[in-house]
């Protein structure tokens, strides 16, 4: 079943449109990646999906509902988790309060399932009372993922989780994504430039160029370093 359908979307900033008619489709419990050089509009696409940027034309259908003009806070409530590039941790909130923020998304005020995210990222449990801003880059990335996950979204948007993160933690994030995939409960849209991570977790990928989808890559294409390099390297 299709969980996200983006149809010919145009979006961007005050100065100019960045996305010039992007169409992508994700099916349930897939991990689909978006690759492309710096500045082609990958982050812009993710922000348009969560609703931080408005779609100036085209359509966004999530879970069979048209959310094109739904506000970001309500999209989050309807089950989209967002982990921005640069992580977006609240630096002066403790790890616990950062996680609580993720848990407030749902209108239902049931007890938060901290244990479910600690099982993926046990380090967060040790750091529970530290401020988010005092964590290392990799720990912040795990916190941002855990924060998005704690409310059990149907769709997880991950924007360059390997950016500024030490290799051992990139590997850990890869293992986490594979475990997540095994649960079959969540679909992931992964923007990434790290070959290892892309090749470990992606089922397929879209390649972007100058604000449009220029190609679709199969798992075999992704596993071929040279093919992949042609889409990412400058």
């Amino acid at each position: 079943m299709t969980i996200l359908n983006i149809n010919n979307v145009v979006a961007g900033y005050k100065t100019a449109n960045v996305l010039q008619g992007v169409s992508i489709t994700l099916s349930e419990s897939e991990i689909v990646s978006v690759v492309g050089r710096n500045g082609v509009g990958k982050s812009t696409l993710v922000k348009t999906i969560i609703g931080l940027l408005p779609a100036r034309s085209g359509q966004i259908i999530f879970n069979e509902k048209d959310i094109t003009s739904t506000k970001a806070n309500n999209r989050a409530k309807s089950g989209i988790g967002y982990v921005p590039q640069g992580r977006g941790i609240f630096p002066d909130l403790t790890v616990q309060d950062n996680l609580r923020m993720g848990g407030l998304i749902g209108t239902k005020q049931k007890k938060l399932n901290f244990d479910s995210v600690f099982s993926y990222f046990p380090i967060l449990k040790e750091r529970l009372h530290q401020r988010g801003g005092t964590l290392s880059g990799g720990q912040q990335e795990m916190l941002a993922i855990a924060r998005a996950l704690i409310n059990k979204p149907k769709l997880l948007l991950l924007d360059e989780p390997s950016d500024g993160v030490q290799p051992s933690i990139v590997e850990e994030i890869g293992k986490f994504l594979l475990k997540l995939k095994d649960t079959g409960e969540i679909t992931v849209l992964l923007v990434e430039q790290n070959f290892d991570l892309l090749q470990t977790v992606s089922d397929r990928a879209y390649a972007m160029e100058k604000g449009t989808v220029s190609d679709t890559l199969t798992k075999e294409d992704l596993n071929n370093d040279e093919t992949l390099a042609a889409y990412i390297a400058v």
Partner: protein, 300 residues
């Protein structure tokens, strides 16, 4: 015996000075400290609270405590209207917000002068006074000290333990991310500004019996309010405001007692300059650094 009386009086003076600084800063803690809006209408919001209390108490005969509560809500509603109509257009534009709140302060001051004239009959100070060992103590100031402590506890609870408090702190740190986590950030800004205005009104009402009720009475609170909030810093506005009112009062009180109120105020100003020089992000940032070091050590 005599030193006992002196120590007691010093403690009392210290308490009143700290309570005054804290109450003067109360609304600004939220509006400048949390929202980073340089609100030059702060004094006029306090004046409004004082006027609402004076009118409801002196003319409508409401008991004073009730009049104070009415002032809180009246000014909070006024603050909400200001936010919706004007202030929300100036978020992220510090200079714009500064000019527009200055304009609001002029309109409020002159408007009050026009409608109510230059003076209002004062509110009688509730409660009597005690004397001990040659020093006298006002019951009302003792109550204000107690109320300040209760307000500190209340604000701490609000921002630490409620969902609104968590969402507000998160929104002030990263509004876009908060939105992406389901927070209706416009509503958070509205509530926060309205709460800050209401608290300014509340402290204006509480301080009304100690002051002359006049259109420009708010001015006397503006400088101490800004000093308290800036010295406190934004890392944790509540601990910052508490820390700075306590510290500044600890400097002002003994010097004021020994050399007179004027030199006490001069000492306070010099101390603020020195503190801001040593801790540019305020007392709360210094406290935070200390806590970070302790917590990080514990987990290693």
């Amino acid at each position: 015996m005599e030193t006992d009386a002196l120590a007691l009086s010093l403690t009392y003076q210290f308490g009143t000075n700290a309570a005054f600084l804290f109450l003067a800063a109360l609304g600004l803690i939220v509006i400048l400290g949390m929202m980073n809006i340089i609100n030059l209408a702060h004094g006029e919001l306090m004046m409004m609270g004082a006027y609402v209390a004076t009118i409801t108490h002196n003319q409508l005969g409401l008991p004073f405590p009730l009049a104070v509560i009415v002032s809180f809500f009246a000014v909070a509603v006024f603050g909400a209207i200001l936010e919706l109509l004007i202030v929300r257009r100036f978020y992220g534009r510090e200079l714009g917000a500064l000019v527009v709140t200055w304009g609001i302060s002029l309109i409020l001051g002159q408007g009050t002068l026009l409608v109510f004239g230059p003076f209002m009959p004062a509110i009688k100070i509730p409660g009597g006074s005690y004397s001990y060992g040659g020093f006298s103590y006002s019951a009302y100031w003792l109550i204000l000290i107690a109320i300040s402590i209760a307000l500190i506890a209340g604000l701490y609870w609000l921002y630490r333990y409620t969902n609104y408090g968590l969402q507000a702190r998160a929104t002030m740190q990263n509004a876009e991310m908060a939105k992406a986590l389901g927070v209706p950030t416009n509503r958070v800004y509205l509530l926060t500004f309205s709460l800050g205005a209401g608290l300014a009104g509340l402290s204006g009402a509480l301080l009304a019996p100690t002051s002359t009720i006049a259109p420009f009475m708010g001015q006397q609170f503006v400088a101490p309010a800004f000093i308290t909030v800036v010295v406190g810093g934004a890392a944790n506005v509540i601990s910052g405001a508490v820390g700075s009112s306590v510290l500044l009062s600890a400097i002002k009180t003994p010097i004021g007692m020994a050399y007179g109120a004027f030199l006490g105020t001069v000492a306070l100003l010099i101390a603020s300059l020195i503190i801001i020089r040593i801790m540019p992000d305020g007392i709360s940032a210094a406290i935070q650094k200390l806590m970070d070091r302790r917590r990080t050590r514990k987990t290693k």
